[in-house]
């Protein structure tokens, strides 16, 4: 009896060790590319052909080059472009998403169900199928030249907001309708209900929507590539960094690319991890119990 317990214990210890070693190896695999970029950004060799895994020397030159050598690749400008676009599209998108989700969740009107069906159908088309057409429509109105690219990108990022109502609508659905009804009986208008009762209760989903909308232009790659096209002055960071890796540029810009990737990834990763909390809260509903 005594013997089986100890052998069971030691077997457990062996399993535990194996599990932890396994997890450690997996973590290394998952971390490796991230670690590789960071390592790369401090490397002295600029090009893609690297002879040893561990760099022989470390340097900050890549970061300095990224921010000062702006003749071909104007990283600071791309950064500001993206920031500018994301702030404006964030404001519009947040307003759109909250408005449409609220209306679909709280108000019963005639075209509600048809609209939700149409939205589902629209979501089934490949996303950038419409985008190629958008490019030609914007071009037809002369919006793909110079500073109009900003306007075009802002409109493109916030134009599709009407389809992104699922998460926020799910949240509004969990707020008891009795709250609205009580307020309406007390003589409040529907606008009062929205602005004074529902919004204060919906902080997690508002924050979630704002951050999500803010991050979109930093992560998007295809829309920006099609719309900004050939004019590097109006690139966002994503396409900018992508062009650094094309055949002509990779020899000189591989390491600065890594530096740029690190600069963009850190704030985005922090925002994302911060966002996770609101996402969980948003899905679990507003009024607990």
């Amino acid at each position: 009896m005594q013997k089986t317990v100890t052998s069971g214990k030691s077997r457990k210890a062996v399993t535990n060790t194996i599990v932890h070693i396994f997890l450690a190896v997996l973590s290394l695999i998952w971390i490796f590319p991230i670690f590789w970029v960071v390592l790369l950004s401090f490397r002295v060799q600029k090009g893609q052909y690297i002879t040893s895994f561990w760099p022989k020397e470390f340097t900050l030159d890549n970061y300095i080059k990224l921010f000062t050598d702006t003749a071909i690749f104007d990283f600071p400008r791309w950064f500001m472009n993206t920031l500018f676009i994301s702030i404006f599209s964030c404001i519009i998108t947040t307003f759109f998403v909250l408005a449409i989700s609220y209306a679909l969740s709280r108000i019963r009107f005639k075209i509600r169900k048809p609209y939700m069906n149409v939205a589902m159908v629209l979501g089934l088309f490949p996303g950038f199928m419409s985008m190629i057409a958008i490019y030609y429509i914007l071009k037809g109105f002369g919006l793909t030249e110079g500073p109009f690219i900003y306007l075009a990108l802002i409109m493109v990022y916030s134009g599709g907001a009407g389809l992104q109502f699922y998460v926020a609508k799910g949240f509004f659905d969990t707020i008891p309708k009795a709250l609205d009804e009580a307020a309406l009986i007390d003589g409040a208008t529907k606008w009062d209900v929205f602005s004074k009762i529902i919004m204060p209760l919906s902080k997690p989903i508002v924050v979630y929507t704002i951050l999500q909308a803010f991050m979109a232009p930093w992560l998007d790659f295809i829309f920006a590539k099609v719309i900004a096209g050939a004019d590097p002055r109006y690139y966002t960071v994503a396409i900018g960094l992508y062009t650094m890796l094309t055949k002509e540029n990779i020899m000189n810009w591989y390491a600065p690319f890594a530096a740029g990737a690190v600069c963009v990834s850190i704030p985005i990763a922090i925002l994302f991890i911060y966002l996770q909390r609101f996402y969980a809260e948003g899905l679990s509903g507003s009024v607990k119990g």
Binding site: W30, V97, A103, V121, G127, A133, L241, I268, A280
Partner: protein, 461 residues
């Protein structure tokens, strides 16, 4: 009488159908369908009446100046080709611009939308007049302009809430989609590029070309479609199975520092995909980090990650595991914690082993909760542009495919991208887009509409 019965069981009694308005309304209301605002003016709603009239005048101006011609050109898609004329005085060739088929198509689409809009405004004008008429009939004063506006803060707030997102959708989703869909029925390819050349309607010719397995296009379409489906199946189910196993390993009672393992996985999601995938792309090049490590540690020659078709396909599926497993782990963890512990305890009392518990309790529970999400993931994988485009860009290239437009790892979406952006075969791109839509729609009709969450949307409240 029949109209009365209908009125009773209507879900939204405050919205009177236009047909009923036209039957029941007086002469002014009926006239409002043709001359907007007449009914409002007759009821002394001056501002509303003038606004409707002004709208109608602007519509008419649009049609006289622009719309009628646009509709005509929409049918013909332009008749005059651009011509080259030698200018004697300047001694150079000059271009006399012809019609631009692409703009003809675009303006035609815009005009169609304007016509639909016109019809909607006409209905609104009728209704507005009818409501005023009803008020007069009951001996009340029709709504003043100020009252109408203040209704938007209350009874009609949803209209304001919907108006702008709708407009956005219409301009940036519906209209472009229609524009693109129409291209599928033209010969707008690399040989018919405006403004130099005209293109024209060709009916279903492009569809038959793409779907015919014997034609040059069909020989590309069917293999690419096959790979797309294989990819989606592997990418979805391998990620799911390994993700669930990993989540369970982390969730074990005896596993230490659970938060740390999850944080490591979370970190890879948090880094923007274009960064992580581009980096991995450089790592699997012939002289990239993986081959470097293979050489330094094992002295092996470079492996053909991107140059051999089979290697490349396996590589993208494996790397996609790296991309996708963290998502599964994060979403499964919460569900695993929700499985009632009584189930496990009861199973243990009955003497069930780990495997039995996994197959009889954990998996069925997870499948029950996650099936809708799995379907969504599958559909996302069919359209997984980022992973393929950034990782392999469709490489390795092959001559077997239509004019070399697609590579061996290209999905339908990336092929669509290459056809339109790189090769300017817009009609073919549009056909591929429509076929992808058909594929997705079939799947979602089969699965999504049968799901509980769709049927019981009101169940919660």
């Amino acid at each position: 009488m029949a109209g009365f019965a209908k009125k009773k069981d209507r879900e939204f009694p405050e919205v009177v159908p236009v047909l009923e308005v036209l039957q029941d309304g007086d002469i002014f209301t009926k006239l409002s369908f043709l001359i907007w605002g007449v009914g409002n003016l007759a009821r002394k709603q001056i501002v509303q009446g003038i606004l409707f009239l002004a709208l109608e005048i602007s519509f008419i101006c649009y049609f006289v100046i622009f719309g009628a011609h646009a509709l005509y050109q929409f049918v013909t898609l332009g008749t005059a080709t651009q011509t080259e004329v030698f200018n004697e005085a300047k001694q150079i060739y000059e271009y006399i611009p012809g019609d631009n088929s692409q703009l003809c198509l675009l303006y035609g689409v815009v005009t169609i939308f304007v016509i639909i809009g016109m019809f909607l405004v006409a209905r609104a004008a009728c209704r507005s007049s009818y409501y005023a008429e009803l008020a007069v009939r009951k001996g009340k004063k029709p709504l003043t302009f100020r009252k109408t506006v203040s209704e938007f803060k209350d009874k009609r707030m949803y209209q304001v809430f919907l108006a702008f997102p709708f407009l956005g959708l219409l301009l940036f989703n519906v209209m472009p989609l229609l524009f693109m869909i129409l291209m599928a029925f033209t010969n707008y390819d690399r040989n018919h590029l405006p403004p130099k050349n005209l293109f024209d309607w060709v009916g279903f010719e492009n569809f038959t070309r793409v779907l015919n397995a014997g034609s040059d296009l069909g020989r590309t379409f069917w293999p690419v479609l096959g790979w797309t489906i294989v990819w989606a199946i592997f990418a979805t189910f391998l990620n799911y199975i390994f993700g669930v196993i990993l989540a369970m390993i982390i969730n074990r009672k005896d596993t230490k520092i659970k938060g740390f393992w999850r944080f490591v996985l979370m970190l890879t999601i948090a880094v923007p995909q274009f960064v992580s995938l581009l980096v991995v792309n450089t790592m699997i090049q012939e002289h990239g980090a993986f081959n470097l490590i293979l050489r330094e540690l094992f002295g092996m020659g470079p492996l053909p990650f991107l140059t051999d078709a089979t290697w490349a396909r396996v590589t993208v599926i494996v790397i996609n595991l790296w991309v996708g497993i963290p998502y599964t782990v994060i979403s499964v963890t919460g569900i695993l914690n929700n499985i009632p512990t009584e189930l496990y305890e009861a199973a243990k009392l009955d003497g069930a082993g780990i495997v039995a518990i996994f197959t009889k309790i954990t998996m069925p529970y997870l499948m029950f909760v996650m099936t809708p999400q799995l379907i969504v993931t599958f559909m996302q994988n069919i359209n997984n542009f980022n992973v393929i485009f950034l990782l392999t860009n469709g490489q390795p290239a092959t001559d077997a495919y239509y004019r070399g437009t697609a590579g061996k790892t290209d999905l339908l979406v990336t092929w669509l991208y290459k056809l339109t952006i790189d090769n300017k075969d817009y009609n073919l791109g549009a056909v591929i887009g429509i076929l992808t839509f058909v594929l997705m729609a079939t799947m979602s009709i089969l699965t999504y509409r049968n799901s509980k969450s769709y049927k019981e949307e009101e169940g919660f409240s």
